[in-house]
Symmetry: C2
Subunit: 224 residues, 2 copies
């Protein structure tokens, strides 16, 4: 979901950056998108990559795609070296906002993300659980609303192994052509057929749209 | 969700039966519906009711509604005494299909449910987790498809305290006016305003429709 929610919402993603995501799973899913020509990943922890390659080869297989270029380092620092408007999509597959990933949930980081997006570009960042972290989600939402000139949307889905069984995503677009995240315009089902990939197990266009439907308490907390 | 998914899908629910649900939570939610004149509940275990009243009064408050009539006994037996076509809606808030609740997941029980529904009536039964019990869900789905002359639909939602963080529901309609469960025609938001109830925390019409969107593996398993 963290991959296809942003990439299926724009017509022709070509340059994609992944921040975090050292297990390779997001890379594997980005690689399903035929239009994508460049997949950069900046992961802070080499050991995450090594462990994934050793113990989770079916996930780490994402690193094998020839379009992938790996940078080991700090994502916020990495963005400083990226030219304005360079990426079509940035996916932030981070850990929780305590410890090393803290800055990935703060306004200066969101400002850097907005800067490196091309017009009509999109960002998807890991955005915690509605059941556990509504206060954090509110802060991220407020900060993103101030930073991104396009739209800011919260989506969520079921992940049984995560605390409270769900995880959320903040989907933001920059200035330029408006992006309606709720209706995928670049359905992955077609890409999967074209590229003869192994079939999707979870994501489909229906789940994409449903992910933006929020429980009443969340709609009220976010003033939606 | 187990209450509003069925009751918001029909225009004018009047007679409702709850099987199980001894904590009173389903009763509390049924009581929000102004059109409802009779709420029967058949719970097998008096101790569930007593414990809920003692320790969870904000849930057991459902028993206080004057429309509620309690029967302590076996749900399948109870149905044998119900005239054909008596109820507008039956909600089966059961435990898992191991032990005492086993028969509530089998064809003879579904046949009894179909028999006691009036034309255009609906049933909602607890139908396990997509992550853990796909084989059970398939069996229930197949059995309901054979039994109910209207439509049979699977829905699911997030409940962090349940195994795998989700729970599912099978929603079935009988012969008579067709029921489109995916689009609520009796929005509860209006009922809540009319009756001056305390506001809903989770359910809304958007969540209602989203509950019927299934992950790819589930669509394939159920041949949807």
């Amino acid at each position: 979901m963290i991959t296809h929610l942003p990439l299926c919402s724009i017509k022709n993603p070509q340059k994609v950056l992944v921040i975090g995501g050292g297990d390779g799973g997001v890379l594997r899913e980005v690689a399903r998108h035929k239009s994508v020509k460049q997949i950069d990943i900046c992961e802070i922890d080499q050991m995450v990559i090594d462990v994934a390659k050793k113990f989770f080869p079916h996930i780490a297989v994402g690193f094998d795609d020839p379009r992938v270029k790996l940078f080991v380092g700090d994502g916020a620092q990495f963005l400083k070296g990226v030219p304005d408007g360079f990426y079509d999509a940035v996916i932030v597959d981070s850990s929780d906002p305590i410890g090393p990933a803290k800055q990935l949930f703060e306004t200066p980081f969101f400002e850097s993300l907005a800067r490196v997006l091309c017009p009509g570009g999109v960002v998807c960042t890991q955005a915690e659980s509605l059941w556990l972290h509504m206060h954090i989600i509110k802060d991220i939402f407020t900060s993103c609303k101030k930073t991104f000139k396009g739209s800011v949307n919260y989506a969520w889905t079921s992940v049984p192994s995560y605390p409270s069984g769900i995880i959320g995503f903040m989907l933001c677009s920059t200035e330029g052509p408006p992006v309606n995240f709720h209706e995928p315009i670049n359905p992955i089902e077609k890409a999967v057929t074209d590229m003869n990939c192994r079939p999707l197990k979870f994501y489909n266009s229906e789940m994409h749209s449903a992910a933006f439907c929020l429980p009443q308490f969340a709609r009220e907390a976010l003033d939606l």
